[in-house]
């Protein structure tokens, strides 16, 4: 259509419209003359139904919600993020969406803030954001909503926060002002939160009623602390704009109130802000609590800003019972010029405290009172200063010590805290910081496995929160963070400065170590191969592939050197026991080179040596890092150190500065003992080994037990041990007898196997088994095997499979919680198991194969269940206690309350699988007893000096 023709069309259209419908036909005939197309065009327009007047009447923006409701982008609801099950969307805040989520591990609800991919894609912003959030995480205060940690997995970056119940102050204010006493109580708590933050140099910057939560019990929590600044890109480039999260709410009167209402004058001018900005906002919030109206508000943003800059709040509307001290606090908080404003929120807090303590009208805030308060302040400051002096002295001593003994080899013993066992299953179980001042190790206390750390200039060994079920501990090059892999295959790191735990990857092998290179990349093992991921989280990249032709089973114990350009690792092959090369992988080329023909657990010593493990000892040789070659003969450099019970690697660690820590060879060694129901002990084995998972044969005459990567059979009548497993399999553990006693099923590095117990040594892989499966129990008919399998989505679950191959593996108990330790009842009708779905480990029993019902066996927590072979009792453990519950009934179970049998310390090790057995008559238990006392670690400072002597360069 041409503009000219269209003009014609429109003119005739309007004219026709102006006429009655009856006249239109004749008008059109006349107007269009003999131009049929023109007439048709106008007629078709006139024919459009007039009733559809709503066409285009809603602005297109109204469609935005529907258009933006993108299944690929927005709703994480119902999905899983690591251990978090996303429940529902709580809101869309300044940093993206906030969801309510269930922490399936700890059984608590949390809030999760998901950073928009727009920001998480920018490493600078991410790093900055994380740095800030770390600082915030250190703000551990009852009135500040806590930051629990980070999730940085599968491309999603999220902060995990404390979920605070209750309305926001903004919601409460919709109902009008608060009673004066309530307003003062809330104000005091808000002031305390600000005080704690300001002491650490953190400014909130965006304090407003929307950021303040009122819990039903009267506790006030301040949210989003400093996140205004920590928000990615915030304050970046100094655009001079106030770092606030604008939000608009409508008060009851319908006046628009933006964040601008709480913005300090300097903030709204775009000037730099400090803690006095928070003091201003605090004044605004306090004023609004008392009066129910904003201190500064206007019809528009401009009016509001004008009020902030110029107007005084209406002091007349303060309730009559507002104490004079509070009035003065408000005035001083809301002083326009920051120079004249109240400088320290503590002064406000003290004043409010006094006002609360005394009836309003009789509380003149006398100068003497205030002076006293100041004096208290001063005293605490002096005490704090004293502490600083002490800290400085300690530091100086430490410096002097390391300085003067630079070349002296120094040996130290570190005793583990009472009751803490060193976890000896999967090396590396310990690390030493590069400067040799800190040791960390994997310990287990009352069945709870976590990381412990000790600074060598202090006496105390402390557990590290948030590191439950850790394995394969490693340390960052700067020594400020530890990395570890949890039993449910999550790769995490924990900041030693503030305890913030970040999940970096899922589906990571926990028995084969990991390394943090100088390039800030973490190398880990997945499905037997080496992978790498940025320490800050991000996409993971596969580095090696298993060479099936060479029967490679596993690439393990990566060790990064030369700023991450070279990775040393062990390549374990299935050809025979101990068949493991040490190789060097050059990056980014990806070229592999065999460095040592036989050995595991390679580390590079700053003295220029390659140190590795072979035949129960550490070996060393000078190593040319450029040519990746050993340049002198390999010699044994350390004997008598402890070896992992499942993997052929030492319980040792070498720091970048050349100090060594290791567990002595007797560490974690145990004996098997009989223990009666009353707790009377009687030895079974004389020899000490790192025994685990003893299992009595069905006839009760033999015991199979795991130790040092093999299974061993002991005749109960004689004290001798015979090795059951052969060279064919690696990492043998977790034995289970078949009901006829002819075979033992067990775990290997590559999956579950069975082996004949007649001494023929015949063994075979169990069809359908995967690496990581742990056998638990075989049903009475000998056909159904219950086992544990790791699932990326649902953590550890209980599966069953048919040993005759009739049915493939299928899950029986599979929730987002951890389930394990399954044990069939002797009649095969029931299954006892342990689960942490309630937030702590508890023992349950359910019918097998169904229906889907369950009964709680334990009441106060419990794990490692076992049936009495009579089927009338279930035993389980909680800490050092052995508990028993009577079981009766047929279809409907009746369970007695739990009773304690004995309370003695025996080795715990696994989270859910019984590290003990019960005699066929149910009268005594085979327990694993630690014979080495509390356990200890050896530390050798400047061990490399010794190494240089033992393995001199040519």
């Amino acid at each position: 259509m041409t503009p000219e023709r269209w003009q014609k069309v429109s003119r005739i259209y309007y004219d026709a419209l102006a006429r009655d419908s009856g006249e239109r036909a004749s008008f059109l005939r006349q107007a269009c003359e003999d131009d049929a197309a023109l007439r048709q065009e106008v007629e078709s327009l006139l024919a459009q139904p007039a009733s559809k007047e709503d066409f285009l009447n809603e602005p297109a923006l109204a469609m935005a919600p529907a258009l933006l409701d993108d299944p690929g982008d927005a709703p994480l609801t119902g999905k899983r993020l690591g251990v978090y099950h996303i429940l529902d969307l709580l809101g869309a805040g300044g940093m993206g969406e906030v969801y309510r989520a269930r922490d399936t591990r700890l059984g608590r609800d949390v809030a999760i803030k998901v950073l928009p991919s727009l920001f998480s894609a920018d490493p600078d912003r991410l790093a900055r954001f994380e740095r800030e959030a770390r600082l915030l995480a250190s703000l551990n205060h009852p009135h500040i909503a806590a930051i629990y940690g980070f999730e940085a997995t599968s491309g999603v970056h999220a902060i995990v926060l404390e979920l605070v119940d209750g309305p926001t102050l903004a919601e409460r204010l919709q109902r009008g002002p608060l009673p004066t006493i309530e307003a003062m109580r809330n104000a005091r708590q808000i002031a305390e939160a600000l005080e704690a933050a300001h002491e650490r140099g953190v400014v909130h910057r965006d304090l407003k009623p929307q950021n303040i939560k009122l819990k039903p019990d009267g506790t006030v929590k301040v949210l989003d602390f400093g996140l205004a600044k920590a928000t990615p890109g915030a304050a970046k480039g100094g655009e001079g704009s106030p770092a606030s999260t604008p939000s608009i709410t409508r008060t009851r009167e319908g006046v628009i109130v933006g964040t601008d209402s709480y913005m300090s004058p300097e903030q709204s001018r775009g000037n730099a802000v400090d803690k006095r900005t928070d003091i201003w906002a605090f004044g605004c919030v306090f004023y609004e609590m008392l009066t129910g109206r904003a201190a500064f508000a206007g019809e528009t943003m401009s009016d509001t800003l004008t009020a902030v800059l110029k107007a005084d709040p209406d002091w007349q509307v303060l309730p009559a019972d507002t104490p004079p001290g509070v009035r003065s606090v408000l005035r001083r908080c809301l002083t326009k010029d920051p120079v004249d404003r109240l400088h320290d929120i503590a002064d406000a807090r003290i004043e409010i405290q006094e006002a609360i303590a005394a009836p309003a009208s009789t509380t003149p805030s006398g100068p003497s009172r205030r002076a006293a308060a100041r004096w208290t302040h001063l005293v605490s400051w002096v005490v704090a200063a004293g502490a600083v002096v002490v800290a400085v002295l300690v530091t100086q001593q430490a410096t002097r010590r390391t300085g003067s003994s630079a070349a002296a080899v120094t040996r130290l013993d570190l005793d583990l805290p009472a009751g803490v066992e060193l976890v000896t299953v999967y090396p590396p179980a310990m690390v030493l910081s590069a400067d040799g001042t800190r040791v960390a190790f994997v310990g287990v206390f009352h069945g709870l496995r976590q990381l412990y750390t000790r600074q060598l200039d202090q006496f105390e060994t402390v557990p590290i929160k948030g590191t439950e079920n850790a394995n394969a501990v490693f340390i960052s090059p700067d020594g400020r963070a530890l990395g570890f892999v949890t039993a449910d295959l999550a790769l995490k790191r924990v900041s030693l400065a503030d305890g913030l735990v970040t999940t970096i990857e899922h589906d990571v092998e926990f028995s084969a170590g990991a390394a943090w290179g100088g390039d800030d990349r973490i190398t880990f093992v997945r499905a037997g191969s080496l992978w790498q991921v940025p320490a800050a989280g991000g996409p993971a990249k596969q580095l090696t592939t298993l060479d099936k032709g060479k029967r490679e089973l596993l690439h393990a114990w990566p060790h990064a050197i030369a700023n991450g350009r070279i990775l040393l690792f062990a390549s374990i092959t299935g050809s025979s026991r101990g068949a493991s090369h040490i190789e060097a992988l050059s990056l980014p080329a990806g070229e592999r080179r065999v460095v040592v023909e036989s050995g595991t657990f390679p580390v590079y010593s700053p003295s220029g040596h390659l140190v590795f493990f072979r035949d129960g000892a550490l070996l060393g040789a000078p190593f040319d890092i450029d040519r990746l070659q050993v340049t002198a003969p390999v010699v044994r450099v350390l004997e008598s150190l402890a070896v992992g019970t499942t993997m052929d690697a030492p319980l040792a660690a070498l720091s970048d500065a050349g100090s060594l820590t290791y567990a002595p060879s007797d560490a974690g060694t145990t004996r098997l003992v009989w223990v009666s129901r009353q707790g009377v002990e009687q030895p079974i084995t004389e020899s000490r080994r790192r025994y685990q998972y003893p299992r009595l044969a069905p006839d009760g005459r033999r015991t199979v037990v795991a130790a040092d990567g093999d299974l061993w059979i002991q005749d109960v009548a004689r004290a001798t041990l015979t090795r059951l497993t052969s060279e064919q399999t690696v990492g043998n553990a977790f034995p289970v007898w078949t009901p006829n006693g002819a075979r033992v099923l067990f775990r290997t590095l590559t999956g579950m196997y069975w082996i004949a117990t007649d001494g023929s040594g015949q063994s075979e892989a169990i069809a359908g088994s995967l690496s990581g499966d742990l056998p638990c129990s075989v049903s009475r008919d000998g056909d159904t095997l219950a086992f544990m399998r790791q699932n990326a989505q649902t953590s550890r679950d209980i599966y069953v499979l048919s040993l005759s191959g009739q049915s493939p593996p299928r899950p029986v108990v599979s929730t987002s919680a951890f389930e394990g330790g399954a044990q069939f009842s002797p009649d095969g009708q029931w299954m006892a198991y342990a689960s942490n779905e309630s937030g702590q480990m508890q023992v349950y029993v359910r019918p097998f194969p169904g229906p889907d019902r369950r009964w709680a066996v334990s009441t106060q927590g419990g794990t490692q269940p076992f049936w009495n072979r009579t089927g009338k009792e279930i035993f389980y453990r909680i800490g050092n206690k052995m508990m028993v519950v009577d079981v009766s009934g047929d279809k409907d179970l009746t369970l007695s309350p739990p009773r304690e049998l004995f309370d003695q310390r025996y080795v715990f090790q696994n989270v859910s699988l019984a590290n003990y057995d019960v005699s066929p008559d149910g009268k005594r238990f085979v327990m694993v007893k630690d014979e080495t006392g509390s356990g200890r670690l050896n530390v050798v400072l400047n061990w490399t000096e010794e190494l240089k002597r033992l393995a001199p360069a040519r």
């Binding site: 259509m1 041409t2 503009p3 023709r5 269209w6 429109s10 259209y13 309007y14 078709s44 327009l45 459009q48 559809k52 709503d54 066409f55 285009l56 009447n57 809603e58 602005p59 297109a60 923006l61 109204a62 469609m63 935005a64 919600p65 529907a66 258009l67 933006l68 409701d69 993108d70 690929g72 927005a74 969307l89 809101g91 869309a92 300044g94 940093m95 993206g96 969406e97 928009p116 727009l118 920001f119 928000t231 990615p232 890109g233 915030a234 304050a235 655009e239 704009s241 106030p242 770092a243 606030s244 999260t245 604008p246 608009i248 628009i256 528009t300 943003m301 401009s302």
Partner: protein, 189 residues
Amino acid sequence: MSPLEASSGSVTRLLLAWRAGDETALARLTPLVHRELQRIARGCMRRERARNSFQASALVNEAYLRLVDTQHVNWQNRAHFLAMAARLMRRILVDLARARQYRKRGGGAIRVSLSEALTVPDQAEDLVALDEALSALATFDQRRSRVVELRFFGGLSVEETAAVLRISPETVMRDWKLARTWLRRELSK
């Protein structure tokens, strides 16, 4: 300042830069507005659930308050400004619709009427078609095309549209009526 917080100031600055011919401003503007829209829309949907009603006008008002700091733009600029904002909205919404349509392709998307806007699950198809029709209209009737752009995409009132285009409100009404009729016919073809 964080782009997330799409505070009106920066949108205003970028819009002015865009108008002055800086195409990179648009690249910076789009994600900003996109995110902000998302936020506003989510908020609206939440409130919609809470109150069991949905007010598009509230959304539009809020979007303008947040995105376009009209208070800080002088009067000469204001008309240009609203025009640019409407153009921007159109680009963003149509892009969103196109992306959505692309994802749905093969899923048998059903064309639905724009008048049923908020009650139907997916108007992406229609919005894209409308955009095309509007572009076609612009080839022979620039002014009426702009009326639709300002009113429908920009959410402006008749009076505001009149001010931007420097025509009388009556003319806006007439233009609006014809343009809508023409578009409706095009879309029902």
